[in-house]
Symmetry: C2
Subunit: 89 residues, 2 copies
């Protein structure tokens, strides 16, 4: 373990979506709109959001901790939503 750590610019994407079983009005609305447009083959639409984050990183472990923290505190509502983190670089 080196004590010399230089901050690197990292990139990650946090995907947030509703937990299974939680009603998704936006998804339902889109499904209905698609039916009206003539697309009868759509069985289900579930909506979600994602956030591309560029940040100064002090190592992989710190990054994981940081990303989990901000997802849990701010990006997702843990009561009804779940999140997935993808570190791009």
């Amino acid at each position: 373990m080196s004590s010399k750590r230089k901050a690197e610019l990292s990139q990650a994407v946090v995907y947030v979506k509703l937990k299974e079983g939680v009603l998704d009005p936006q998804g339902l609305t889109i499904k209905k709109a698609l039916e009206k447009l003539g697309y009868q083959n759509v069985k289900e639409v579930r909506s979600g959001k994602f956030f591309e984050i560029v940040f100064d990183s002090n190592g992989t472990q710190q990054s994981t901790k940081f990303l989990n923290e901000i997802s849990d505190k701010l990006l997702a509502n843990p009561v009804i939503e779940k999140f997935e983190i993808e570190v791009v670089k």
Copy 2:
């Protein structure tokens, strides 16, 4: 499970995000909120949305056409947004 359907149930995800250069107020707000929470290391936040779609497919070519059509017509606003399609199965 049941084998009453001839058409195969396919799954795809459409990712929609703002084009480069288009202002992202939601992303900016999140960045500011993170700074207030003490996360000074965040350089940029860009927000986007995604849609998980389950649909009856009549082949890969048809699916691609269908997914491009609904993305262009309904899921994204082509003036300010771009989309990416990921076929899951």
